[in-house]
Amino acid sequence: MDLLLLSRLQFAATSYFHFIFVPLTIGLSLFVAILKTINLKKQDPKLDAVARFLMMVFAVNFAAGVATGLTQEFEFGTNWFEYSKFVGDIFGAPLAIEGLMAFFLESTFMGLFLFGEKKISRGMHTFAAWMVALGTTLSALWILIANSWMQTPAGFKIVETPQGTKAVLTDFFEAALNHTTIFRFLHTVDGGYITGGFFAMGVFAYFLLKNRDVEFAKVGLKYSVIFTLIVSVAQIIIGDIHGYQVAQHQPLKMAMYEGKWETEKGASLDLLGVVDQEKQTTHVYIKIPYLLSILAYHDPNAEFKGIKDLVKEYQQKSQEYKNQVKAIEEKLPTVADEAEKQKLLDELAIAKAKAKSLDITMDDLPSVGLVFTSFHLMVYLGFLFALISVVAFILYKKGTIYNNKGFLWLLVLSIPLPFLASFLGWTSTEVGRQPWIVQGVLKTKDAVTIHPVENVAFTLTVFFLIYTAIFIAFVISMLKVINRGITEYSHDKETVPVGSVRPQLNKDWRV
């Protein structure tokens, strides 16, 4: 195994694992805050118990999210030394702001929210819920600003220093709000809302199927159906806009998404196909003529560039930059004026970096089949979520959802699907950016830390073991909390205010 592959595997594995917990945190925190706000006026004890029950579920999830999130903060430095040096001037800022603006907020108010319910007013407790939701959303915003900069970098120049070449910030807002930030953020966060909505629907459907805490589960299901409907339908629109932006700014990735090797005028949208990377072709089984050109360029006859032509274009650009490097290097000794010399040196640094990073061949491409398939599956799942949530809403309006066993089972079995959609989405967007770590500026292979291979193999193995153990503990704890039931969290039943320990549960095993 080579170092680059192992380092990428470790980053991918730890990130995917972290992202089991992230979307649920984003989704549930908002949903709980909404429920608590509705109940400020309504004062429905059932809804109160539902919110408190979801809060406990949320806490189990939040802990694993915090634990695995630690790795993410430090992994750029540990395994991507050259990357961290190269982009630190730009990429470090959103990470730092995320900590300062978001992590403090969510973690501090999470403590208040979980343990402070009987020490503060109802209003303050609801406020704490909103601060947790705001914290998770801000966290998503800043990390996606960082990620978006890797996808479509802007607002920087390149300089050479004794410690190596690096990108230097020239315009903070241009870098932060680059071409794809806003909709990448909305797309990801809404994915989290869908995850939370489907999770809640599934859990309450489970209670109805088990004929347990029925009156509570009905209340919970009602609100989760409405919530999920809104966020699932919104995703169709957001996803479309985000896709359009990718087409404009990351044409190579878009061509891989769609499996288009050749340039097409009036390109068809290929719904079902198999990519053959060796023969550089995609076998298409179902397609809709002109639709891809319409979606990507809002024009049925627009030209959609294929992978082969794009790679050739990058080659040509690289050659142009190489020529430029030569020209500048020849010119440099003849320039006496300091200001002009500096300007030339700046140009030289950019030309050198571009000549190196744009020098790609067909062999540098990632698995196009993986990008194509994961992207298509994600899109289909997105439509499926909208469909299920619309049907759920109709059945709820008819009042038959609570007794429709088949549909309730469908809701339970759908719980993992939004997680899967998130994984597929990240796979398509991150693998689709290859061979670059920062699109068009720095190649992934030039970004890695040179470690002894066995060190990375060792840490990858340990991560695998620890994360597997955490996942098992997470599932056990989650099932325990769910199986305690919703009525457990009703004030009617309990004398000890909740948000605190239930001594009757612990007595028997206390030593």
């Binding site: 189990v60 702001i97 300062l100 403590g111 056990i476």
Partner: protein, 345 residues
């Protein structure tokens, strides 16, 4: 009076990095200390009380570390890149330990099984002990020097880091956290646990003072240049003075006045003083190179551009006070002695 380098944008950021380090040591410091004492008692009720005493705040406290890491990345990328990749295995071990601690809080009490709970107790203890020790070892290596080249690339192994002076600094850190943790328990607990905390506070105070003296002598022998700043700028001696004052105050409130709720002010000053003492000794260098002093990573060759530093300064000046404001509010809500009922379940 003070080094001229301090009055630059980079110098200001060195101070801010120090603020985050102090923030972390001061808050998560007592969490770690409390956690180290986890195995000092076999009583489940006492263990639970200790965990409950930090349950509402530990997570927010840990953010000082995460935010500090982010700040380091943003302001001094080369320090972030060189230290985290250079100290690779050590950093990973700390990460795994902290991951274990975070999960243990939430999952330990989820299942009514002795094996389940005992397993989490071990994970929880390691999750506190390992970072409490290794943070100091990392700081020790950074100030004493590691083999890094001109590009910041590390040329040693994991065992290069386990040298005696650095391990000593690690032990100083461990006892510092224990001292602080015991003071926290004196503030938050009652009864039998409170009585134990008195002993723990005294023992860790003695340990800290002894280790401090030994480490001081060892450092004077192996790295006398670390004392240069104090000869050049005597005003910096304020830092060790704060530490010594904190230590005296701690002992005074604990052993003489028996005013146990005030002990934590002593350990807080000692923690601040200790972090500042190291920072003043090292300034303006972050990581020394044992290959060639020319390769030292200092505040200038590692800093981000002035634009980035300025943007981050504005963000920090606005948000840090807000963070401190709501954090203080939450601490106020949870003021007073902790009960067995308030915690994870």
């Amino acid at each position: 009076m003070l080094p001229a380098e301090l009055f630059t944008l980079e110098g200001l950021w060195f101070l801010l990095a120090g603020v985050f380090l102090v923030g972390y040591a001061l808050t998560d410091g007592f969490d770690l200390g409390t956690g180290v004492f986890h195995i000092f008692t076999k009583d489940e009720k006492e263990r639970k009380l200790m965990m409950n005493s930090i349950a509402p705040v530990w997570d927010g406290n840990e953010v000082w570390l995460i935010a500090g890491g982010g700040m380091l990345f943003a302001a001094f990328p080369l320090v972030y890149a060189a230290s985290f990749s250079g100290f690779y295995l050590a950093i990973m071990v700390v990460l795994w330990a902290l991951i274990g601690r975070a999960v243990a809080f939430e999952y330990r009490n989820k299942k009514e099984s002795i094996t389940w709970r005992k397993t989490w107790d071990i994970i929880y203890w390691l999750g506190n002990f390992v970072p409490a020790l290794l943070f100091g070892v990392a700081v020790g290596n950074a100030v004493l020097g590691v083999p890094i080249d001109v590009k910041g690339q590390y040329h040693g192994t994991f065992f290069t880091l386990l040298n005696i002076p650095s391990l000593l600094i690690g032990a100083v850190g461990l006892f510092m956290f224990m001292m602080h943790g015991a003071a926290w328990l004196l503030l938050k607990t009652e009864g039998s646990l409170f009585e134990k905390a008195k002993k723990w506070a005294f023992i860790s105070w003695i340990g800290f003072v002894l280790l401090l003296i030994i480490t001081d002598f060892v450092l004077l022998m192996v790295k006398p240049e670390l004392y240069n700043n104090y000869f050049k700028y005597p005003l910096l001696l304020l830092a060790p003075a704060i530490m010594v004052f904190g230590l005296i105050y701690y002992f005074y409130q604990l052993q003489i006045k028996n005013n146990y709720e005030k002990v934590i002010w002593g350990s807080s000053l000692a923690v601040i003083g200790t972090v500042l003492t190291i920072a003043c000794a090292s300034f303006p260098v972050f990581i020394r190179s044992t290959i060639d002093p020319k390769y030292n990573i200092d505040i200038f060759n590692s800093a981000s551009s002035h634009l980035t530093l300025t943007v981050m300064l504005i963000v920090t000046v606005i948000f840090l006070p807000i963070v401190i404001f709501y954090t203080s509010y939450v601490y106020k809500v949870f003021k007073g002695k902790v009960s067995e009922e308030e915690g994870y379940h």
